[in-house]
Amino acid sequence: MEKIIKTTGNQNPFGYRIKKLRSSNYFGPVTALVFVALLFTIGTKGAFLSIDNIQVILNLASVATIMAIGSTIVILLGCIDLSAEGVLAFTAILCGYLLKNTRNAYDLGIAALPLVMVIGAGLGLINGIITTKLRIPSFIATLGMMYTAMGISIIMSGGATIPVRDSELQTFVNGRIAGIPTLFLISVAVVIVINIVLKSTRFGKSVYAVGGDEVLARQAGINVDRTKIIVLAISGALYGMAAFFMVTRLQAANPQISKGMLFPSITAVVVGGSSMSGGIGNATNAIIGALIVTGLNNGMVLMQINPFIQGAVNGVVLIAAVAATMDRKKIGNIK
């Protein structure tokens, strides 16, 4: 039988390849990254791209990446997770008490990592249960969790800092393997794992389906609530992981450790090319976004931009980078 529904497409192989590259979800964000790098390399007469500085950027971007992945998977659902700062503070305090510290006799070392990830997942799970079972917007559920977890972390710590004294772990997280910061390698590993989960498991497909159209996903037989709960739990676990590395790096745990990290994290998600309305993006987008945001902050420091106008420079570069590189075809409505 004759084929009756035809797809029109450019069959020219070279043109097609360019088109495919351009339509890739990474094209815009990578261009933005290159744009930022170029800007600062010129601005700093090359210092921005020195080996030393790249190592610093990769190191600083690692925690940002892990956090941004947590935010990304929630945003993939079309939901939002405002609890990051609270969950991070909560798990950070736990880390403080579980690692070798001056307050108690615990010294769990690296074993504290899975533990705080589980606790973080628990908080995420509660987020998920609240938003799905009470049927309230994720914005509210996670806002509530943000206050609650932050409040509890203040109570647990009494507001004071818990000094950590695990120099072995600190040396480890500050270390490098073949010149690449260990922490960055860890965050790349997280990117790979999350991407495999998203791309090659049933659960991953259901995340995209829910993000694409929740009603249709439900009609197709997807357990929307379960998907959301699991995603929020994973994001909680990732915040726990980020907290662990922050605490070992700073050798101190304090509820204010996460202050002001929410918006940069969501910014990383968006500049990385994920769509705020859900269904588009993955962990690779998150790491690109984290590199852009970190590179931007680092570049401004290297260029010694006047502190009073750093906000403006940050704003202008952010807007310019996204405006110049965003793929507007994919995201139908730009909200």
Binding site: K3, T7, Y208, G279
Partner: protein, 507 residues
């Protein structure tokens, strides 16, 4: 007949929505290896019944038996496990996922290699499946990028695969108005597939095109106002009998209100000059007179859709001019087009036609709000009056003017779109599949309204899914093929061409 035990049976089903009784004490059954045609007016409860069958809605009361055993249906996934699958009236493909991903959504487990889902396996199975239905679409294409007809076929492919994969002996496939965006060829492909599937499955087929129902069904059930109204076997049914049971009275002899067709005025209202769009259509020119109904006929890819979308300002032609009353309008701007009196009823009501979250009144009045401004403000009284007038004119069945459009039946949503544009009182109205999913009774009413507006001077460009509708309604028709006009034909009421006359110019 009662010797064969039904695969699926519903007894005493009641389903209410806030303010509406959608299904009122319904008994319903499906026999093995039959194609069951389900018809009824818009809002009769057909889709609701189907959604109850697959567990999407929980009934308020009633019993549900599968193969004689009583069951409770938890949700669509469980329905699929029990061999019941559905193609939804509103479509259910997820736009940000690929065709292959959509085809096997929730069933990826079958495509694992080393514990992970393998995209290659997904794609090869998808290609095979789509090939069977003669759909040529790249399995890796995103659903948001494919045409409505293509989407419909993908959904059918999905159902087909489900019916075989489930391993159930006699699966039940539900198709809720699958043919509204398909062309005749595609429909014939679909029908031949359904007839072969019937050998080991039962099919529930919902449509407002009674000929299709007659052609396909072994048994026909008619619904009215949420109740069972009549049942026919495939042999003893006629369109007239069905219509009578649906509408409650006999329908007029003529189908398209041909007797109300008037000669258009002499003055040209719309002129298209040498308009072209690379890859879609070659330079074309034509006129449209005041009060004229002009049909564009052509297969998918003939360029007629793009021509109309260009006139409406949704797409921008590469070259050419569009003139309204002799004055040139800005190309590629819906705002300019509407300002100059060109309206467009889109094929895709969910995406382009309606705000589902808004109430019926807001949707209907949306285009004429400006006329309701008194001083600075819009009078709620005027809004209410206008909404009520058009609800009644277009026979929209709704619990109230403040009901959200998402709570209306598919056909009633379509009526809201039509009401919205008829109310706008534009000079030129382009109708892209206007009667998609509308029941016969209301169709007649809408034909009447279109004729009335034409008589008052509105010019209409029509693209229908049915050549008969095109022929029946129009004064004149333009046939297109491969981006070119192949023929122009007059269609006076007393001398309408036959579909066969037309088809030779479009394929």
């Amino acid at each position: 007949m009662s010797e064969i035990s039904p695969v699926l049976e519903i007894k005493g089903l009641v389903k209410c929505f806030p303010g509406v009784v959608a299904l009122d004490d319904v008994d319903f059954h499906v026999d093995p290896n039959e194609i069951l045609g389900l018809v009824g007016e818009n809002g009769a409860g057909k889709s609701t019944l189907m959604k109850v069958l697959i567990g999407l809605y929980k009934p308020d009361s009633g019993s549900y038996l599968i193969n004689g055993k009583s069951v409770t249906m938890e949700g669509p996934l469980q329905a699929v496990e029990r061999g019941i699958g559905m193609v939804f009236q509103e479509g259910c493909l997820i736009p940000n996922m690929t065709v292959a991903e959509n085809l096997f959504l929730c069933h990826e487990a079958k495509f694992k290699r080393n514990g992970f889902i393998n995209t290659g396996l997904l794609h090869s199975e998808a290609e095979k499946l789509l090939g069977e239905l003669s759909v040529d679409v790249n399995p890796g294409a995103y659903v948001r990028d494919i045409s409505p007809a293509c989407k419909q076929m993908v959904e059918i492919a999905r159902l087909l695969w489900l019916s075989r994969d489930s391993g159930i002996k006699n699966p039940v496939l539900i198709l809720d108005e699958p043919t509204t965006v398909l062309l005749d060829d595609e429909i014939q492909v679909l029908f031949s597939v359904l007839k072969s599937v019937k050998q080991n499955a039962s099919i529930i087929f919902i449509s407002h095109r009674l000929e299709e129902i007659l052609q396909l069904s072994d048994r026909i059930v008619v619904f009215k106002d949420g109740k069972f109204s009549a049942e026919f076997t495939g042999d003893n049914a006629t369109i007239e009998k069905i219509e009578e049971n649906m509408v409650g009275h006999e329908m007029a002899e003529e189908h398209y209100r041909e007797s109300e067709q008037k000669e258009p005025a002499d003055d040209v209202i719309l002129e298209v000059r040498e308009m072209s769009m690379e890859g879609y259509f070659d330079p074309i020119s034509f006129f449209l007179h005041r009060g004229e109904i002009l049909s564009f006929v052509g297969a998918l890819g003939s360029g007629k859709e793009e021509v109309c979308r260009c006139i409406a300002g949704i797409q921008k032609p590469d070259k050419g001019h569009i003139l309204i009353n002799g004055r040139e309008i800005r190309l590629g701007s819906t705002k300019a087009a509407i300002k100059d009196g060109v309206g467009y009823i889109p094929i895709d009501r969910r995406q382009e036609g309606l705000a589902l979250q808004l109430d019926v009144a807001s949707n209907i009045n949306f285009l004429i709000l400006k006329k309701m401004i008194k001083g600075f403000l819009i009078s709620p009284v005027t809004e209410k009056e206008s909404a009520e007038k058009w609800i009644s004119n277009c026979q929209v069945k709704t619990p109230g003017i403040k009901t959200h459009c998402s709570k209306l039946s598919g056909g009633n949503q379509q009526k809201v779109v039509i009401a919205k544009w008829l109310a706008a009182n534009v000079k030129v109205l382009i109708l892209d599949h206007p009667t998609r999913g509308i029941d016969v009774g209301t169709k007649d009413e809408i034909y009447h309204r279109i004729r009335e507006l034409a008589e008052e001077g509105m010019a209409v460009i029509l693209m229908s899914d049915r050549i008969e509708e095109d022929i029946g309604l129009c004064n004149r028709m333009i046939m297109m093929k491969d981006g070119k006009i192949t023929k122009e034909m007059n269609c006076p009421p007393d001398n309408k061409p036959t579909p066969l006359n037309v088809i030779e110019y479009i394929v």
